[in-house]
Symmetry: C2
Subunit: 77 residues, 2 copies
Amino acid sequence: MARVVVDVMPKPEILDPQGQAVSRALSRIGVAGVADVRQGKHFELVVDDSVDDETLHRIAGSLLANPVIEDWTVTRV
Amino acid sequence: MARVVVDVMPKPEILDPQGQAVSRALSRIGVAGVADVRQGKHFELVVDDSVDDETLHRIAGSLLANPVIEDWTVTRV
């Protein structure tokens, strides 16, 4: 068994209303010094050793992320 | 300026319906070998060098995560 982390983020050119909401909330509660916040998704998978990287990228691109508006990284941990 | 990643995950004892939905979808599309999926949130912050780790954990625990049901990690990248 192996642990795999998939992080999914909105592409840089895509607006990120969730991240912007966090930014505004930080100003409101008086936290200074945070220039930018972007929010994405974090998946932790437990997979058999038979699952190769190609399969992991296929899972990420078809189920975990929307390739039109999101990028993802696959990391074995 | 520094880049900080905050990963927020449901605590182990908390049910994760999003992750379970992904697990079921994987079986449905015929992907075998994935034993478990859990879904959380991934934040990327750009902060001034003046923002210390204590402030980052305060931000994570008050705005990014719900400490009752979620754990988080703060990583400078």
